[in-house]
């Protein structure tokens, strides 16, 4: 409380708070690389990163909600329904770009709906999205009668969007990766360099003080929810392009790894603080753990235990590299 003396003195040499997760990431990559040197081949690392890019993007955006002291349980299904609607409209004859816009717009609308409900029901977002998650999933199931959405028409599959994302166009770095990194820069600037971001962090830090400072807290909440929806919609459209199809189950398992990435990355659940870059590193840690276990060739029966132990290690590195303030629960 009053130990600001030390903090002030060492300000110039202060390590960024992302250091500890970065160390964990490097150690993990190092271990896998030492056991299987091919792991470290740039193409392998890039491909690995690409397949976790969408989850990473969502982890970057969920930081906005966590910073505001809220959690969205529905984003996986927003992603799903956005992708389904985009895919269906393309199959129904809409131009690819129109389908993309439909997907992102649908995601934004779903997010905004979450926001409006949380503001007007005066309930935490986690409770509201407990319901809307099922609603979005339900609408997705109905939209395509429980089937996968697979555009097969050449007009669609040969469209530059699908070819670029699906890897048919050769680039040194996967397109999706470039796009997601750009999004991360945007998200970082938005949260830490604009008034919108300041307002979010203010609401998360002290909602009553934020109201008294004249911040339109309801409007901001709805906007942040809509942003989460929009990014989930983008995620859905990217998924459609990247994988070329959407399953009814797509997105259903995303909640835990995405939130895990954000909190491993150092964003507390209690609001008022958040790190977009930490979230990116967190997503990469989740990715490296998932991939590393397979890469090293650990048997399926043992894989889960090893995963758990490595997660404990990754979060434990924080203890060693003591740069981060204690994280509130």
């Amino acid at each position: 409380m009053t130990n600001s003396g030390a903090a002030q003195g060492s300000r110039k040499f202060k390590l960024p708070e992302e250091t500890s997760v970065l160390v964990a990431l490097i150690v993990l990559i190092g271990i896998v690389g030492a056991l299987r040197p091919t792991f470290l081949k740039p193409t392998n690392l890039l491909n690995l990163a690409a397949s976790y890019a969408i989850a990473a993007l969502l982890a970057g955006c969920i930081v906005f909600l966590l910073s505001m002291g809220e959690i969205d349980l529905s984003f996986g299904w927003i992603l799903n329904l956005s992708a389904v609607l985009a895919g269906i409209s393309m199959i129904a004859g809409a131009p690819v770009w129109v389908g993309i816009v439909i997907g992102v717009a649908a995601g934004t609308a779903m997010g905004a709906l979450n926001g409006v409900l949380t503001v007007f029901m005066r309930l935490p977002l986690i409770i509201v999205t407990l319901g809307t998650a099922s609603v979005f999933q339900g609408v997705s199931l109905i939209s395509n009668n429980s089937g996968s959405v697979v555009p097969t028409d050449e007009r669609i599959t040969q469209h530059v969007f699908f070819r670029a994302l699906g890897g048919s166009i050769d680039t040194p770095v996967p397109i999706i990766l470039i796009f997601v990194v750009l999004c991360f820069i945007g998200l970082h600037l938005l949260l830490h360099k604009t008034r919108f971001g300041y307002r979010i962090l203010a609401i998360g830090s002290n909602p009553e003080a934020a109201r008294l400072a004249g911040i339109p807290t309801k409007k901001i909440k709805i906007q942040v929810c809509a942003l989460m929806g929009a990014v989930s919609g983008v995620g859905g459209v990217l998924f459609l392009g990247f994988r070329g199809a959407v399953d009814p189950s797509t997105g259903g398992q995303m909640l835990l790894p995405v939130v895990a990435a954000a909190i491993i990355g150092g964003t507390p659940l209690s609001g008022g603080a958040g790190t977009i870059w930490g979230s990116l590193i967190g997503a990469m840690i989740v990715g490296v753990i998932g991939v590393g276990v397979v890469f090293i060739g650990i048997d399926a029966v043992w894989g889960t235990l090893v995963t758990g132990l490595v997660i404990l290690f990754a979060i434990g590195v924080d203890q060693v590299v003591r740069v981060r303030k204690k994280r509130a629960s």
């Binding site: 091919t38 089937g147 399953d247 189950s249 259903g252």
Partner: protein
Amino acid sequence: PAQAKEKKLTIGFVVHVVGNPFIQQIIDAAKMAAKDLGVNIKVTGPAGAEGDAQLTAVQNLAAAGVDGIATSVPSASMVNGLNAVIKSGIPIVQFNGLGEGVNAPYVGEKSTQSGRILGKMVLDKIGGTAAKGKVIVGNCYPGFPVLENRQAGVLESLKKAAGVTVVGPSDVKVDAAANFAAWQGLLAANPDALAMVGLCAPDVESIGKVNKAANNTKTIGAGYDLTAGNLEALANGSAHISLGQTPFIQGYLPVYILVDSIKNKIKINKPGFIDAGTEVVTATSVTEPFKLPALTFKDLQAMATSKTKTRKYYDPVVKGYIKNWKKNLKPVSDESA
């Protein structure tokens, strides 16, 4: 002699979910094949069923340098990714879940056909085409392709009896406790139901428990998979029919195909289908495919826990149907025929 020095092949084996007893039977069979054929096998799969994580696992095994990969394909979104792996020169065989458009052979049941068989058996038990009354159908995971196929087959067979009305299909959930509660509710809502038909592994066991708890002996219970719990329900008479998907063949055959095709440079980068057969189990009879010797119910339960017994029982299939897999390769349209 020069070939003997060649490095041992490594086969990747990717399942859609770990920690599922039925899938584990497939894995065990795959490991038996690897042992028989003298190759390494790396088994992996996501903890929760998700196509994307599974595809990532396949891609990683490919990057890690395995020689061939067998994988189930539960999601259409894996197709493009798998084809890219195949294109890069690593052969793939699909099992258990078929990905439409994957350029690789598929080993599995005829899912629509197995649904038809189940529907017909249920119909036979409730009075054939003259049957009159309700049949409850439950789908534990709406949207899962194999389940949708089975469901279509079941409904097709049931339609043959004009007097049968189908209740559902209802979403009966995968989680054991929720599954039980759903079946319990369905029976309570329709106490006069002639039969309850599930499409997933936990259903038969749940239906059996529901029947037993309600002291209900008149409603036929039917479903899929020969898990220990399901067999127990059949044994005590609380459920009546369960179809098996011959996990031994679904695990053994893909590994065999991969090793055979790699060693003998057989191209397998085309869609195709090899039937793994359907096992039909009731309290009184066990019918195995491929003219295997008849089993008693006890034998079946014993085999569920003993790998050596299983291997021995299927030896004729290994030496015949499996060895001659090329002859048994059919167009993929046969799967849903």
